[in-house]
């Protein structure tokens, strides 16, 4: 199961942010005035599992507003899950990626591993936190809180393949209506993370919304990295052997 977030109908009401906090009991992430349009949340983090971005662009006709509700991508190939040394991060029966908070020991490895900068450590708590795609609600056949609260159906919840078809139809509608710049983000199974369980319809390049344009799961290169490390280890052993045995003069 996953999310299709159609940013073309997002009105920036932040009901998703509020519903997520309420349902999941996520603590306050600070009452700040950031000075970045109507976004006073800033970014996804340990205590922000939905984040509505507000982009203001100067165009010929005045100001264009882009609003987008960001969330954990629940990657098909999830780096956070791969690098987690305790098994706290796991793949659920819904194909989502969830942290078991009773197992996480706060090693922090998932934090720099995530190519989207989603997961983070809560400093007063010591563990990492992120969107669970409302694992508890899913187990009771309920829609995740954010999708349930979204008044414009910008956030849609369902089986990923079904959402993919819906997204493709929506993209076609926008194209025929002459909306420039519309594109899907995360819907391609051939991308660097094998496609994401939560994907988006964006109206500009991903980086405009703070998203990486070509995310890659770091563990894709891990076999090559182990080989390089093995070569370096052999080099180190060779240097030691040469230093000890190579210099003996008799």
């Amino acid at each position: 199961m996953g999310f299709f977030t159609d940013t073309s109908v997002c009105i920036g009401c932040k009901a998703c942010e509020v519903a997520c906090k309420e349902w999941n009991g996520v603590p306050s992430d600070g009452l700040d005035f950031l000075g970045s349009s109507y976004d006073n949340t800033g970014a996804l983090g340990a205590s922000t599992w939905r984040h509505v971005a507000f982009v203001e662009q100067q165009v010929d006709t005045g100001v264009r507003w882009l609003m987008s509700s960001d969330v954990c991508k629940h990657c098909t190939h999830a780096a956070c899950l791969d690098v987690c040394p305790t098994g706290a991060l796991f793949r659920t029966e819904f194909e989502t990626v969830v942290v078991q908070s009773d197992v996480c020991n706060g090693c922090g490895y998932c934090v720099p591993a995530c190519p989207f900068g989603v997961i983070d450590r809560r400093e007063d708590d010591g563990r990492v936190w992120k969107c669970t795609l409302c694992y508890d609600r899913l187990k009771s056949d309920l829609t995740p809180a954010c999708a349930k609260a979204c008044p414009t159906e910008s956030i849609q919840f369902g089986p990923v393949d079904e959402l993919g078809e819906r997204a493709a139809r929506r993209l076609g509608t926008l194209a025929s209506a002459g909306v420039p710049g519309a594109r899907l983000y995360g819907a391609d199974e051939g991308d660097g993370v094998g496609g994401t369980g939560a994907f988006f319809l964006l109206l500009d390049q991903p980086e405009v919304y703070g998203l990486p344009p070509d995310p890659v799961v770091t563990t894709r290169d891990l076999p090559a990295m182990w080989r390089t490390a093995a070569a370096a280890a052999v080099t180190l052993a060779g240097v030691v052997v040469a230093a000890v045995f190579g210099g003996r003069r008799r």
Partner: protein
């Protein structure tokens, strides 16, 4: 100029504090020392084997508190042993240390007390064989992230860490061993320093302008410069003072400092790299077909 969302980072900066680069140094030095101890014992150089055995145990003993202290939940450190995951370099490292630590400790305890010499030798052999892996896996640990200055350095970092470990391990043994028996330690220290300097230069060159920027600006650049200076000075001193103890001790201290600073430079570069949205977006945008 790449687009960004109000200049905010795309990635989250690593939450690891100074404990982690300090561990990279302690663990790496312990690994190289254990291998040096094994080789020295096989060559019949008892004084060198002794000092390297003790250095390995000291390094790995310092490593454990550093690793536990950095956890958000230190009381749960044993959760590391719930699973073995080859996809997680931290998991692989945990299991490596779970073998290497006790082996290096038993070897040193036997060396000091003279008790159970066979177990001591056997443990020293195990630690010596595991040492190179302990010294280099940490490079994979940082490279296996989304941080550009770390991930894109993946072809060089293991050699940087191998050289750094050899320089520090050789340097400490050089400082702790009587001059008559310290020849192999001196050669290891100088060869390690050369490898560390060459691999670091190759890494910075290979990263290119955009991704390698952290090594040329800010705190990471300062640390990298200090590391280079200490390593060069230490290697020169190791070569110069062949017969006397004082220059050997100074050389060892300088090489260890250079190795420690190299790890801190790598850690700082990763931090700076993660916080720079252009470092993340630029290379990704460049490899995509233009839209």
């Amino acid at each position: 100029m790449t687009d960004s969302y109000y200049g905010r980072p795309v990635l989250k900066a690593p939450v690891w504090e100074w404990y982690i680069p300090a561990y990279f140094f302690c663990g790496g030095t312990a690994g190289a020392s254990a291998t040096l101890a094994l080789a020295a014992r096989r060559a019949g150089n008892r004084p060198l084997a002794r000092s390297a055995t003790l250095a390995a145990a000291a390094g790995v003993t310092a490593s454990f508190p550093l690793l536990v202290a950095d956890l958000g939940r230190p009381g749960r450190f044993l959760n590391m042993l719930r699973v073995f995951k080859p996809t997680s370099p931290m998991s692989v490292g945990t299991w490596l240390l779970a073998e290497f630590g006790p082996a290096a400790g038993i070897a040193a305890a036997s060396e000091v007390t003279g008790l159970l010499p066979r177990l001591g030798r056997w443990s020293g052999t195990a630690a010596g064989l595991l040492g190179p892996a302990v010294s280099t896996y940490t490079a994979v640990l940082v490279a296996d992230t989304a941080v550009p200055a770390w991930h894109d350095a993946r072809h060089h970092l293991p050699f940087v860490f191998a050289g750094s470990s050899a320089a520090a391990g050789g340097g400490l043994a050089l400082a702790a061993t009587p001059a008559a028996h310290a020849g192999p330690a001196r050669r290891l220290a100088v060869a390690g320093a050369a490898l560390e300097l060459a691999a670091t230069a190759a890494m910075e060159h290979g990263l290119g302008d955009e991704t390698g920027a952290p090594y040329r600006t800010g705190r990471a650049a300062g640390l990298a410069r200090a590391a280079r200076a200490a390593t060069v000075a230490g290697a020169a001193l190791a070569l110069a003072g062949r017969r006397r103890r004082a220059p050997a001790v100074a050389a060892g201290a300088l090489l260890a400092a250079g190795s420690l600073l190299t790890r801190f430079a790598v850690a700082a570069a990763g931090h700076q790299s993660a916080l720079d949205p252009a470092a993340t977006v630029g290379p990704q945008r460049a490899r995509l077909p233009s839209t």
